[in-house]
Amino acid sequence: MAPLLTMHGIDKRFAGIPALRSADLVVERGEVHALIGQNGAGKSTIIKILTGYYRKDAGEILFDGRPVEFSSPQEAQRAGISTIYQEINLVPYRSVTENICLGREKRRFGLLNWSAMHAEARALLARFKIDIDVRRPLMAYPTAIQQMVAIARAIGFEAKLVIMDEPTSSLDEREVEVLFNVIRQLRQADVSVIFVSHKLDELYAVCDRVTIMRDGRTVQVAPMNQLSRIDLVTSMLGRELSQVLHEGHDTTDTASETPGSVLEVRNLAIGRKVSDVSFDVRPGEIVGLAGLLGAGRTESVRAVFGVDKPNAGTVSFGGRENAIVAPSDAIRAGMGFCSEDRKLEGIIPDMSVRENLTLALMPQLARRGIVDEARSRAIVDRFIKRLGIRCTGPEQRIRELSGGNQQKVLLARWLCMNPKLLILDEPTRGIDVGAKAEILSLIRELAGQGLGVLMISSELEEVVEAASRIFVLRDGRTVAELHGDEVNEQSVMSAMAHGHESDREVAHG
């Protein structure tokens, strides 16, 4: 039988720069197909061409036996291609039912048939073993539920092909398992799935075949079970694995002997989510904040940076206590903060790389309020080279860059200020393996030069590898401080689960 989807020889250029060069993608009926590659490899572009978001420059697409060229995502949806994007695209103020049935409402006598729609929404969610009040507004539910609603909505369109672009990034382990069951159900129902993810475990758990892309080309197509992890990563990066992993894991404990903390947080309480959080960061060390979703990590560092007001507790930075009430105070005092959500709180999409990079530095670049463009250009050129930011030039708009390169620009935004402390909230989220390793080794190098780094990451492996000390948060409290040999995944996990009352005494002592 002919494959469900054949994309052949697809070309696409943006501003003259090729994003896809004769790329191929073939998806069989009823298979789960992994699509992987580094950021900027062309995964998103090929998906957006398939769903009619972009137009291709060349090549052909066969879907369900017919040549197609969708001119809008709606058209693709009608033809049976549903997409779940990385960022959830739903209407937060409307009910769960409305979100699921939006665009294909059931009618009776010209009016909306609410009872039928509620029933359908409940039935679709029941497939995920989710039982919620579908009449309540979507925003009343946590992100993971919202993600499931997005998937239910996609499935509700009776799709022949469901595209999932990093669907698991906001799900916990149990929810991921539920999602995988749904994917397996889809496969049994002869629905194909394109699954985009950076997490190798997930790919091997659920996918049948894989297409690997690099620099806009399709470099390998293989059945999942015939491809080892090493081969997969090597093929994706196009270089030897040994170069990537553990590029010098030499965060020795010498740093921890340096006396005096650059940041000291004691008994911080903020709103409902944080009740008693304490930690400290010394110059030249990387400190990890670990904890499950909702443990209060992000809330704590936002308060440190002056974004939110704490109810109680002390924050001493550079020897001054509670002197920071706004981000501008924190920045003046020598702090930098890369927030969790790059798109929502990091980049200014319409501005150029140069303008984004110098955003915080601007007041210092100016004399009598007038920006010194020559100096700004010199600094930007230096950081583009230094961090290896891939762009057509400093004047390219930042939204045209891949996620990893956007993140590098945001890092540079703070590094050019010569900060004493850099707070990184999920610095490698949604970034491919190669850029991840680059960013982590960069952070290590900077810490080696005396910068204090406070890092939040949901990937335990990453925190354990990078940090020399880890504070574990649970339900808004610091439950453990781990250092030395204790910095390993087992002890972090057990602290997340049970807490170490004894270690907590260390944190306070």
Partner: protein
């Protein structure tokens, strides 16, 4: 736009898109040139000083208010109160120089105060708009609606609803005076446009305005004093509305609180939109606003000079706005 303040990538796009790119980026300029060419061909006596002067004086107030509006819109806001603030400034000035508000020691002082106080009052009310937006976190369209409704009422209370007629050449210089044959108000307009365009491109303040419009949360996390920048932007909008109000009453030798600046908010927003400023904020062009206002004015002039009634001119104006905003959307594909 030659002057789009958020720097665009260098122009090496795929050749296929060239026509569209040119249309989007230079559409307003092309339209302006076309309008001038059409007028040279069909409108009698178009290429005269008088025509130029008539058009310049008609467009001045819109451009001056439009500059402030551009800055407000660049932060992602909007200012509906500009017309009402013009009426307030326009009502205050004659009260001052006619000595109705307080006794004047010397007429010259009265004239000086008649320039300064109304403009300051309008600026203060603009700051009040900004305060509503930042401190009370009211959406800009609602916050400025407050003065849109109340402002004209305040102006009428000042004057008891009376028309104030005057003949005072030294004050009316702002609306009627000429320097080397060029209307003074046109010189003032060009000065304001040039200053604002330079400020938006070259100063920290300008960059902050665009950053806030582009992504307010990111701007705040980068240490930009969002509230203070916004308040200043609304203040500037009020200040420029005050100046425009004085120009209008000086030109008419009369201040009618009912009519000064009536509908100005919409004309200014239209000029901003036609000029190519993004109405959601983050991308703005002052020169574009000037061109936009000139286009709207020229279309009206063309139709009137060729005997088409004013009502039809309004329809043409609407058509231009639709076309301009549609062209803007094209760059997002």
């Amino acid at each position: 736009m030659a002057d789009t303040a958020t720097t665009l990538p260098p122009a090496h796009r795929a050749p296929r898109f060239d026509v569209r790119t040119i249309l989007t980026r230079y559409g307003a300029w092309i339209a302006l040139v076309l309008l001038i060419l059409v007028n040279l061909a069909i409108t009698p006596n178009f290429a005269t000083w008088q025509t130029l002067n008539v058009n310049l004086t008609q467009v001045c107030a819109i451009v001056i208010v439009g500059v402030g509006m551009t800055l407000v819109i660049a932060t992602g806001g909007i200012d509906l109160s500009v017309g009402a603030l013009m009426a307030i400034a326009g009502a205050l000035a004659p009260l001052i120089f006619l000595g109705k508000l307080f006794p004047l020691p010397h007429p010259a002082i009265g004239i000086a105060l008649a320039f300064i106080l109304p403009v300051l009052a309008a600026a203060a009310l603009g700051w009040f708009n900004g305060w509503l937006v930042t401190r009370l976190r009211i959406q800009p369209i609602i916050a400025t609606l407050v003065l849109f409704i109340a402002g004209r009422g305040i102006a009428q209370v000042f004057t008891n609803g009376n028309l104030q007629v005057f003949n005072l050449p030294s004050f009316q210089f702002i609306g009627l005076g000429r320097v080397f044959g060029i209307p003074f108000q046109a010189i003032l307009m060009i000065f304001i446009v040039a200053t604002a365009a330079w400020m938006l491109r070259r100063t920290v303040f300008g960059r902050q305005i665009l950053a806030i419009g582009g992504n307010e949360k990111a701007a705040r996390l980068s240490g930009i004093p969002v509230a203070s920048v916004k308040k200043r932007v609304y203040l500037i909008s009020g200040f420029l509305s005050g100046i425009a109000g004085l120009i209008v009453i000086a030109r008419n030798s009369a201040a009618d609180a009912n009519l000064v600046g009536l509908g100005m908010e919409l004309d200014a927003i239209a000029a901003v939109a036609v000029g190519g400023t993004l109405l959601t904020g983050g991308r703005a062009t002052i020169i574009g606003t000037l061109v936009g206002a000139l286009i709207i004015q020229l279309v009206r002039y063309t139709l009137l000079a060729n005997g088409v009634p004013d009502a039809a001119a309004l329809v043409a104006k609407a058509a231009i706005i639709v076309l301009a905003v549609w062209l803007q959307r094209q760059s997002y594909r």
